[in-house]
Symmetry: C2
Subunit: 186 residues, 2 copies
């Protein structure tokens, strides 16, 4: 297997490990075992655990942003909100990406991690703002629902039968954002 292929494989597996246990909780030993290679080789390929973590995080953010971008296509305004929201929502199907994002936020106590996450947050914000053309308040709302979705993934809300869990699963209709646009346009 080429080093590049191996790196790909490790990034996929590491996403699972980090999603479950976070930067500090995950172990390179366990990762190597799952990949069927020696632990030393992980360090050969990525240098440090943090570097591996950062690559995993960047991948997760990039995929989500590009996925939303691709889903939005040539739509605009409320249409893109609906379509992007749907995409993000479907991300709950594979919880790993959302959990990695959550772990990235949680690891922001480390300045190096924080800078990377800020950068991707900026890209995410810009992507939705550009695509929808909506004012900051609407973009903020959209992002807020995204962050709630991260938490929903962590709590595995689909496995809970309770008032609050049903409430969190309630789909938002895109009309909400129309209202925000009208009210807050300047």
């Amino acid at each position: 297997m080429s080093a590049q292929q191996r790196r790909e494989q490790l990034l996929e597996l590491a996403a699972d490990e980090f999603a479950a246990a976070g930067l500090h909780g995950a172990s390179t030993e366990a990762l190597a075992r799952r990949a069927g290679i020696s632990q030393a080789y992980v360090f050969r390929l990525f240098g440090t655990k943090k570097a591996l973590f950062l690559q995993v995080v960047q991948r997760a953010f990039t995929r989500l942003i590009e996925g939303m971008d691709r889903a939005a296509g040539h739509t605009s305004g409320a249409d893109s909100i609906a379509v992007m929201g749907g995409y993000y929502d479907r991300a709950l199907g594979d919880r790993t990406e959302l959990l990695v994002q959550l772990q990235a936020f949680a690891a922001c106590g480390d300045p190096e991690v924080r800078d990377v996450v800020r950068e991707h947050m900026a890209r995410m914000w810009a992507a939705t703002a550009d695509h929808t053309g909506m004012p900051p308040v609407a973009v903020k709302s959209f992002v807020a629902y995204g962050m709630l979705l991260n938490v929903a993934a962590a709590l595995d809300v689909d496995d809970v039968d309770a008032e609050w869990a049903r409430g969190i699963r309630t789909r938002i209709h895109a009309g909400l954002f129309d209202h925000l646009t009208e009210e807050n346009n300047q």
Copy 2:
């Protein structure tokens, strides 16, 4: 110092430690050093690190929920939304509580942690639903803004001068929730 006082002190300091580094990243050694006691005594008082973490998490959630409750007082509907939102927003002043919450979500890979967090999420949902009398969609929106605030605390958004950071700081006016109430009442 009585054992009870000592426990209080440790819970305060541990909140800082866990907020910065999470369940796995924080060390009882560092905590004990900051408190000026031996590390062994921490275990005498709390049994395990996870037990300490759970107490810290419970404290943070309970304070936030009770704070919102107290702030809401005898208001109802949109008024309580405004007042509770204001309280939650002011929580950004002391980032520790919000960060502890975020670390709690991130540590939900552990079933024991997850159960505790779910329980507090239920209480939080019930508190806002009861106080405001608003439909699930509105409560969901309120909670979503709260989760975004957690992330804002992690990214230390007040220290960033950029489009997205200003956008996240944009205050939401309570009128938004009126709209949600009208549209989604059944």
